[in-house]
Amino acid sequence: MIEIQHLSKRFGRLQAVDDLSLTVLPGEVLGFLGPNGAGKSTTMKMVTGFLRPDKGSIVVQGHDMAKDPIAAKACIGYLPEGAPLYPDMTPQTLLRFAARARSIPAEKQAGAIDRAIGLLELEGVRHQRIETLSKGFKRRVGLAQAILHDPKVLILDEPTDGLDPNQKDQVRELIRSMSADKVIVLSTHILEEVEAVCTRAAIISEGQLRFNGKPSELRENSRYAGAVELRFEGQAPADSFLTLSNLPGVERVEALEESDYHQGWRLFPKAGTPILHAVSDHVRSHGWQVRDMHVDRGRLDDVFREITRSGMAPSPRPSQPQPAQALAQEEV
């Protein structure tokens, strides 16, 4: 279990992390999202004990990082951003070094190393110098180092960055398979990755926690971008489905819940067409009793942008850029 309380860190004039509180429980896979420079890596560096926070506390598996860093660090497996490794070592010697540093008993070291090498399929490069390995292999060596001691807490800073789609799937599968009894925190730029492996998503921006919830919440927002949700008092009028479907600008209509007793519809607009007024005029002209009517907001990246750009209205453009582009634009 990781308990982060009121964490703050400042670099000069930049408030990298600002009063961040977060708890992650065993069995949870927390996806850490945010634009570049939002404070993801800084937070992870503090949780792993590399950086000292200015304010706040971090407790890992009951060990306070400030008071007993050795015990806290012993519970953690960490893949730093970019997976930095000693280039002159081989996966075998690097893992041996990590095993010794983690005080794994001598007779168990070989077994732990074999297990990590097997899980990340590094057998073929076991005795090859790390500087000669491809980016994907280096990342996997970094992951092997992180899981070597079967830690209770795994902190992975962009674990799939630089991997090809097959390797990404492998790493995600590995994370899922280990998640049952572990606390796993991973950061990523790929929103879909959060849905694929995470049980919870935390979005931070400007060092502050802006969203903390299930990835499905984001997912729903993404699917129903611009859709109008219409809920009637009681059962939906008999002709409402057909007449609403025929409204100009309406792509299709679906039931809000799967049952024979329909209380309302969700209306998907044709691309870029605002349909709220058309729908509300239609409802008024028919005199239907409506309990609730609203527009569902944003797709995944849209939601992400909305959350990470404080005080800014969502973009009015009908075609939303992909997350990577959105991030690239922010960097400029």
């Binding site: 560096k45 004990g49 660090k73 730093p80 930095p84 070094f97 010794r100 983690r102």
Partner: protein, 244 residues
């Protein structure tokens, strides 16, 4: 000091697993040989001792030790491995001392390989073995002090070239403050006790004292406490710079 032996082993492995060690050892042996037998006028002196051999060590170290120490922390910080290192359950002290000791042991190996000179002298005449041993001790301590300076400087920059140049200048300063000419120059306008204090801070003064074969505890304490102080500053420096 948790993690010291682990870091020490890794560093020694890094020295001997790359060409660095062999290039360094070869250059060290060639240079010590050359300065002893040619610059040091070993034959012309017609004396069976290794004074000309040790006399040039402080100067040789000026170039060679910063070359060895420049990568110690600068490279860790540049490549980001410092983050992997300090998220392992080891202490700052263990890492700093482990790295330092590995480099010092490496110098010790280089010095051990020069004992062929000792054998030659013993073969040619009857040297005072105690003085030669003291010479080795003085040289080893001097190397340790230079290394501690180099390690500290290396913690302050990510750039190995800057680390090399700054270490060289720092070591040169520590070396020069004890030279007779420099002391005379300061003596022109500074009171005598301040000049004496300068002299007592000089590595060279203590090195000469030890290599004469007079083992004054004060000289040993000087080197050990200087190294300890520099390593402490080293740890503070890394703690401050590691995030940048």
């Amino acid at each position: 000091m948790r993690g010291m032996s682990v870091v020490l082993r890794r560093e020694l492995g890094a020295y001997f697993g790359t060409p660095v060690a062999y290039v360094f050892l070869m250059i060290f042996l060639v240079l010590t040989g050359a300065v002893t037998w040619y610059l040091g006028n070993f034959y012309e002196m017609n004396q069976a001792d290794l004074r000309p051999f040790f006399a040039y060590h402080p100067v040789l170290y000026l170039a060679l030790i910063p070359a060895l120490s420049m990568r110690m922390w600068a490279e860790e910080r540049r490549s980001g491995t410092v983050e992997s290192l300090f998220t392992l359950p080891i202490t700052m002290g263990g890492a700093v001392v482990g790295k330092f000791l590995a480099a010092w042991i490496f110098i010790g190996v280089a010095l051990l390989l020069t004992t062929t000179n000792w054998i030659s002298v013993a073969f040619l005449g009857e040297p005072d073995h105690g003085i030669i041993l003291a010479g080795y001790l003085g040289s080893f301590l001097m190397a340790g002090a230079y290394l501690a300076v180099g390690s500290l400087v290396s913690a302050l920059t990510k750039n190995q070239v800057i680390a090399f140049v700054l270490s060289l200048v720092a070591c040169l300063t520590l070396f020069l403050v004890g030279q007779a000419g420099v002391l005379e120059f300061f003596g022109l306008f500074l009171p005598e006790n301040i000049v004496d204090w300068f002299s007592s801070l000089s590595l060279y003064t203590h090195f000469i004292a030890i290599s004469k074969g007079v083992l004054d505890p004060r000289d040993l304490i000087f080197f050990v406490s200087l190294i300890a102080l520099l390593l402490y500053a080293n740890a503070v420096a890394i703690d401050y710079t590691k995030a940048r």
